[in-house]
Symmetry: D2
């Protein structure tokens, strides 16, 4: 399906279930897509950071994307991450994503290499020119170690290069400034870039982002509790901010499951991704909670703490 | 006056007007205090980062604090920053602040030296033990280059070391987690630390912080438009989040005055502080817009852009 | 040819000349290999950061590596960079490199994702287990944003996982500690890891690294002046430290060509790589000085400054 | 005594022994000065980072400096650190240092506040203009979180603002470029700034710095083993680089005592300073090994590991 403009709502970055050889478990992934669509989400983001895209070979990336597109079956649009170090490598992923039926592309700034705003602008413009799909900029300094400036985003929004922004920078003050500059107060008409979409990746402050005029959210935790994020989104759209905040607070408590893996044993990313997948396993959505190598697996004790958190949030494990 | 517990509301960090020799312009400072109290603010924070505390000799710090306490005249409480590298030096400032009539102290983690959570905990405990005033932790990694962890803050809140937190970390997700952990959802009773105050220093997302359960805000821009922040606070307290967001957006637009000084010529801090002071001069509150040496002064063109921003926000210059 | 153990000497990271469509210019690359081997270098490092590996599609990587292996023709060993985000993707590159005739592999820690020492250890162990080639760890925090600890390097050196380290961390004090711990003073027998190679990527302090017991250097500038680095290495091996320092100083002056591109226009990496390639063009070694997209090309004025630097270092342009 | 120009040699940053109330133990400090001067050092640096200047109240700073000046008794020059956040506060320390008989001042860039090269330049120029003592810039990004650029240092060297640089940046490549630019190759005549002194604070690579043309070193470890650093310096001056490297390697092994305190219990700075002081106590130079509050003291086991290291380096404890 083609993207509505602007894209709005809850757009979870879809976890990639793996089998015991590290291959994509397509049956589990299809069930996960069903779980998300049934939960009411508005679109899906395949091959994002939460999808462990950095750990997937090109073949596995293709399998994962194909599976998500097929399982979504046109009910919601599918955005595809095209994550690689620089333009020539990203272009290769973008062409594959287009062939596999993605409805939009999500690309970061160049990484590994040190880059420059002029180079980042050229990067996004070339991607947009060479592959005919709406393009979202993915601002994620924790991964790529540069920040997309508001000036650059506005320029690329106004000249039509970008269809939107996924802001995982954690800089909520900067996002607020961008939203005010883009959208005008009150009306939120996005001024000179009326169809530009702003999605926040800050899953703990979604009520705040929506109050500030963001169009939606890309919550990793939305894999586990898509219906919760949809309730939060709906409450915000209805102007019931107190209800939105209550739902956000429940999700903040649930989010604590990302601390399941001890810091001395594994990376924060492995702990978070492992806990999301373990939660999905406990909820009966996917078959195995394993993350991709070389991430450290959760211990049995860590997995038990995930189960505890699920119960606390009203999502009792079924196994 | 003694602090109500918990402290709530708008607590601007008071700018320190200077004369042409770099001495504190006490007449201007007293007028500024009047401007703030008349604007409806709930407390004053003297000797904070926005007060240029890092640029003031001990004598000038004393003069500034004395002036604020006298001008406040018990109408609102006065918090005093006690900013220095480590405990022995901070203690000296703390004793002076107590003698000069401060109602509470605001201290950062040690800086210049590399520190450790165990050392930071000892630091705050010693300050609390040795000077009998409520103590606020000031989390400002951009200045001190370490972050106060939620675990540490909770421990020091629950054992009574800290009366509150001023969070200028910019980590809104972390703040949200802390608020949920401290306060419980809905009730916001701060659980085991019922009188603990959480103030945000993120002046562009105050509506969001209040929606999340923060008690108030310490806005540098509140020097220029205290009444605006009070309106925002009142709207939030009344549950009118749409009105709060509109007021916040007006303040976000006004905030753009901090970019008055060109990045190639001066630091971001000098530009922001210079523009706040120039705005206060243009509004007739203080006599000179000068910042402390070695900050670079705003050019005439930069000052003109400040005037323009004031007009745009409905605060026309009077000179 | 197989690697002597330990590898010693000057091991330039080979630039990748490109044609006007961005494809590898194999004729120029073969000439560059000849230029380096004729300059006396002891091995070649293909597909490193200076080779613009982050900008090369998989096909171009294969072409570049094949060309270097063929042109080297067994005269010196060829190390191949296998640079990608995580183990599964790096393994794919490693298998290709083995098929194409590389004599050793050079891999970084995982990047893009946040990682952990336990995960990094697993990463190198898996690479070593799955592909039967000597493995070098590439410590380059400026690119991957984590630092390999001395503890980890020693562990992986002593258990035979690693054949060596390429240290581009810039932490010369840490390198000195590692060398003392590894090698014992004086004898420099590398104690429990007698065949372990330590190469520095700090091309401005090679005399110092050799004095400290490093085995060799991987200098980007060595593309332009391989004979200079070989003279420096030979002087050091002969114990003529004053001569080594003089040669290093000449190379430090030449190195200033990396500043050819203005900081406001392009990234530091583009300026450095563009100037190396422009210098190679001016010296008649390669046909075009172009860097890969989206790097900003050097202006004519910048190129002229490269020519000036070459003349100053006694390397007059031939075009 | 007045400074010879340029200052050359071993200039240890003098530890500040404390009594059980945290006051300066002047008898121990005088003995430490004797230990250093007897060890052959060429000057003393009081009130530096290793002196715990950040932990000393103004009174204690004065006591420490007075004690060092008196004990040095004109045998070697005394440089005084004037460490504080910005110019007005640093000036107050500088005037005191001049009154107390310091021979030169050592100042960092502004810290706590975000600063700018233009502001840093103004800062050093004002210090030089207002207090008539030779001024050294102290480049220590780990403490002040900005780096002094080579461009700035050269400008301030050439216009006479600075008498020298103490480089604790750890950027040895940058230092090499600066030395080449300042001094010309071979001759090392410092070109347009013939009397400019460059001291390295990188105590593990002193042989390298001297080979590169630095004038001397400011080694924290020099408190413990001044004679070792003097031997290293003398070997380098005599052109016996192999001997210099052997001595450096012995000192690198001794330096491992800084890891005495476990990372999970205390900061790296506390561990290093605590181990230097414990070593001085074990060697009979000072009475107590205590560091200033809130640093965590070394445990008995940690202290024992310091004794072990001393023995290994041929410096047997006397208690």
């Amino acid at each position: 399906m083609s993207l509505t403009a602007p894209l709005r709502g809850v757009v979870p970055p879809v976890c990639t279930p793996l089998d015991d050889r590290g291959e994509v478990d397509t049956a589990s992934l299809a069930r996960l897509v069903g779980h998300l669509v049934d939960g009411g989400v508005h679109a899906l983001f395949a091959l994002g950071s939460t999808s462990e895209v950095a750990y997937l070979t090109d073949d596995r990336r293709a399998t994962a994307l194909k599976t998500v597109v097929t399982a979504a079956a046109g009910r919601v649009p599918v955005l595809a991450g095209v994550i690689d170090t620089t333009t020539p490598r990203v272009l290769a992923h973008a062409r594959t994503a287009a062939e596999l039926g993605a409805d939009a592309l999500v690309a970061t700034a160049p990484f590994y290499t040190r880059t420059h705003p002029n180079e980042i602008a050229g990067h996004f413009r070339r991607l947009r020119a060479d592959v005919d799909l709406p393009l979202f900029a993915y601002d994620i300094p924790v991964a790529v170690h540069s920040k997309l400036s508001a000036t650059l985003i506005r320029e690329l929004a106004e000249d039509g290069t970008l269809a939107g922004l996924k802001d995982s920078s954690g800089d909520e003050g900067g996002l607020r400034r961008l939203l005010v500059e883009l959208g005008g107060r009150g009306g939120r008409d996005r001024g000179p870039a009326p169809h530009f979409t702003v999605l926040t990746g800050s899953e703990l402050t979604v009520d705040a982002a929506l109050l500030a005029g963001a169009d939606g959210v890309v919550p990793g935790l939305g894999n586990v509790d898509p219906a919760g994020y949809v309730r939060l989104y709906d409450a915000a759209r209805a102007g019931d901010w107190t209800l939105a905040a209550r739902e956000q607070e429940r999700l903040v408590e649930l989010f604590a499951l990302v601390d399941a893996g001890p810091e001395q044993e594994m990376g924060r990313s492995s702990s978070a991704l492992g806990s999301f997948k373990e939660a999905l396993r406990l909820l009966g959505v996917i078959d195995r909670g394993a993350t991709a190598f070389p991430q450290i697996p959760l211990s049995a004790a860590s997995a038990a703490s995930v189960a505890e958190r699920l119960r606390g949030a009203g999502l009792p494990p079924v196994r």
